[in-house]
């Protein structure tokens, strides 16, 4: 009945990796794309003008908000940056002056003129972000958080068991043997990526739980801030406990009630200049509560960068007199650790070089998961489980090659759907899911080796041709972007081309491997330095 600890962990690694693998591949790929969420959105809005001086943008934005929402509850101005060239404004109407409720309105402005720009309707990089952390489930939002939390537990389980199984990982690190038989090279790729970036995989998985933790693990909040009802009952309705908790930790947000007496707003540009000096860095966004009221408060937030916390430093000013408002003391050490973990996961602070490092590390995690899924099928190819194996292989094709293809299709839809199409943004998302579903159907009907090769080539073509499509459908083609130093547009085009090349390489390698495929017997006869005993799945 007994088996060794390592055998048990190897078994768990295989099954946790398989069952969580497809969801995790999607979460990691979408999360990796989300590292460039703003940049992707900017590419998908080619109507946006080039960036301008943030202080000029601020004045223009304040003028626009003064016109359109003079008595709003709150204004938010996100200044243009090298990641997104437009000024983004949002305002929350006062609940008592509109029948529509306090729904936030948003606009994008030309940074320099303050003119409202109406770029094509698109969800942009936000689609990948929503896919990443809540599986694109919007109602009820918490269901998506539970799903991503569960998938993360599969990841932590796979990482912990993988550590046990491959504890001699420094030797494994130097055993990449491409061409030594397909199973070996996929396994080696899986190990190499897993071991060399192990701290990243562990940290990104664990910190990913921080943003959703009071939803998926609410018991500490209930224990310390709940009421007399049984904990399980409270878990279903814990808004009171949650807000008591956040009031208890809220150190520095200054809120004032509207006075009801109109008063002119202090010059925001002057405040921004003062705050910039005190914060020691550029300003990212500005929030004005109770604008044009005697109790107006201006909150000026430093641009993320230079600090890990997900809550960049900020200053508060009286919105009428312009006097700085005192902020209470520091948050506690645990809250700081939590903010740092949150910030580390979100990577909003990352300047270009570090942002690229995040992107590449995320890709490495994604490929590690994909290679692990392939290893699962190759290990079992010789065994007599055609039915289950074929299901796994088809799901692998649809996920590993189909999801990237669907992402490319989403970008194609952005350039090709008519600009005046009703519900255009939703249309783009439908193209994404339709492309994904089509690959799934195709993989179900085609022999899996053919489906692999063809879908990889399809993804290669779809990504590789994106710069061409961009050149044909906009005036912001690659040569023009490079010539004018527009690295936002050029960066996307070049990344798409590189992605296409990577898929072409993958398609070529798989095609070559299939042509010269050794039979199952040959795979087994190949010299194996495998030290781990990989049990078969239960029958």
């Amino acid at each position: 009945m007994k088996r060794s600890f390592r055998q048990a962990m190897a078994w768990l690694h295989g099954w946790a990796g398989l069952l969580g693998g497809w969801a995790l591949f999607m979460m990691f790929l979408a999360g990796t794309a989300s590292v460039f969420k703003d940049e992707i959105t900017a590419w998908m809005m080619p109507e946006l003008p080039r960036a301008a001086d943030p202080l000029v943008a601020l004045e223009a934005a304040a003028a626009r908000l003064g016109d359109v929402a003079p008595d709003a509850e709150r204004w938010t101005i996100t200044l243009p940056s090298e990641r997104f060239p437009g000024t983004r404004i949002a305002w929350q109407p006062r609940a008592d002056v509109t029948d529509l409720g306090p729904r936030t309105r948003r606009e994008v402005l030309d940074a320099e003129s303050g003119r409202v720009v109406t770029p094509r309707e698109t969800r942009g990089g936000d689609l990948f972000y929503r896919l990443h952390y809540r599986f694109e489930i919007s109602e009820p939002v918490r269901r998506g958080w539970w799903l991503s939390g569960a998938a993360t537990m599969f990841m932590l389980t796979a990482l912990a068991t993988g550590l046990v199984v491959h504890r001699r990982f420094f030797r494994d690190l130097f055993t990449f043997r491409p061409g030594m038989g397909r199973q070996r090279s996929w396994l080696d790729a899986h190990l190499l990526l897993a071991v060399s970036l192990l701290p990243f995989h562990l940290a990104i998985a664990y910190t990913g739980l921080v943003p959703i933790m009071s939803t998926v693990m609410p018991w500490a909040v209930i224990a310390n801030y709940g009421d007399e009802r049984p904990a399980l009952v409270q878990a279903a309705d814990m808004d009171a406990a949650r807000s008591a908790y956040s009031r208890d930790r809220e150190d520095s947000t200054i809120r004032r009630h509207r006075a009801g007496r109109p008063a002119p707003l202090f010059d925001l540009r002057v405040l921004a200049e003062r705050a910039g000096e005190r914060l020691g860095g550029p300003i990212g966004s500005i929030t004005i509560r109770n604008p044009n009221d005697a109790n107006a408060v201006v909150e000026i937030v430093r641009k993320p960068g230079g600090e890990l916390s997900n809550r960049p430093r900020r200053l508060y000013y009286d919105g009428v007199s312009g006097e700085p408002l005192a902020v209470s003391a520091d948050i506690g050490p645990v809250a700081k650790v939590q903010a740092a973990m949150y910030g580390m996961h979100m990577a909003r602070f990352a300047e270009p070089l570090l942002r690229w490092a995040y992107f590449l590390a995320g890709l490495a995690s994604t490929v590690m998961i994909g290679a692990g899924l392939v290893v699962w099928t190759l290990k079992r190819r010789s065994q007599t489980e055609r039915g289950r194996l074929s299901l796994v292989e088809r799901l692998n094709v649809a996920t590993l090659a189909g999801l990237p293809f669907a992402m490319a299709a989403y970008f194609w839809a952005n350039r090709l759907l008519p600009l005046d199409m009703p519900e255009r943004a939703a249309g783009e998302v439908r193209v994404f899911f339709a492309a994904w579903g089509a690959v799934l159907l195709y993989a179900a009907l085609r022999p899996s080796r053919r489906a692999w090769i063809e879908t990889l080539w399809l993804a290669a073509a779809a990504f590789g041709a994106l710069p061409v499509l961009n050149a044909l459908t906009t005036d912001r083609h690659l040569a023009a972007s490079i010539a004018s130093g527009d690295w936002l547009m050029a960066g996307f085009d070049l990344t798409a081309a590189a992605t296409g090349a990577a898929f072409a390489f993958a398609g070529w390698r798989v095609a070559r491997a299939v042509r010269g495929a050794p039979g199952p017997a040959a795979v087994h006869a190949a010299p194996s330095r495998e030290r781990v005993e990989w049990p078969t799945p239960p029958s």
């Binding site: 009945m1 007994k2 088996r3 600890f5 055998q7 048990a8 962990m9 078994w11 768990l12 993360t152 537990m153 932590l156 389980t157 912990a160 068991t161 664990y206 739980l209 921080v210 933790m213 009071s214 693990m217 018991w219 500490a220 909040v221 209930i222 224990a223 310390n224 801030y225 904990a231 908790y245 208890d248 930790r249 506690g332 050490p333 645990v334 809250a335 650790v337 939590q338 973990m341 087994h524 194996s528 495998e530 005993e533 990989w534 049990p535 078969t536 799945p537 239960p538 029958s539």
Partner: protein, 97 residues
């Protein structure tokens, strides 16, 4: 690839696997929830700090419980230990409040 590994695997029947998986997913979550509740009350920190610390640590307990569910000598042993740990944490948390 070893034959002995494959032979031993068959010793884990479907029922055994189902019992261990339930221990991992459900039992592990209950252990994590109980340990978190207990820590949130007993950690010598400010209330909000203890709450955050306990919640941050909870996923470590969950992961450990999942591994234990499959490392335990039998499914029964897996369940017994998880129930014991959850019970102790629950009692400690109740006494602390």
């Amino acid at each position: 690839m070893s034959r002995s590994g494959a032979a031993k695997t068959r010793a884990w029947g479907r029922r055994d696997i189902a019992a261990r998986a339930a221990a991992a997913v459900i039992g592990g979550y209950v252990v994590a929830a109980m340990a978190t509740t207990c820590l949130a009350k007993v950690l010598p920190l400010a209330r909000s700090e203890a709450t955050a610390a306990a919640t941050l640590l909870s996923f470590l307990f969950y992961t450990a419980a999942i591994l234990w569910s499959f490392a335990a000598p039998s499914a029964v042993a897996a369940w017994v230990a998880l129930v014991a740990v959850a019970g102790l944490a629950g009692i400690a948390g109740a006494l602390a409040s």
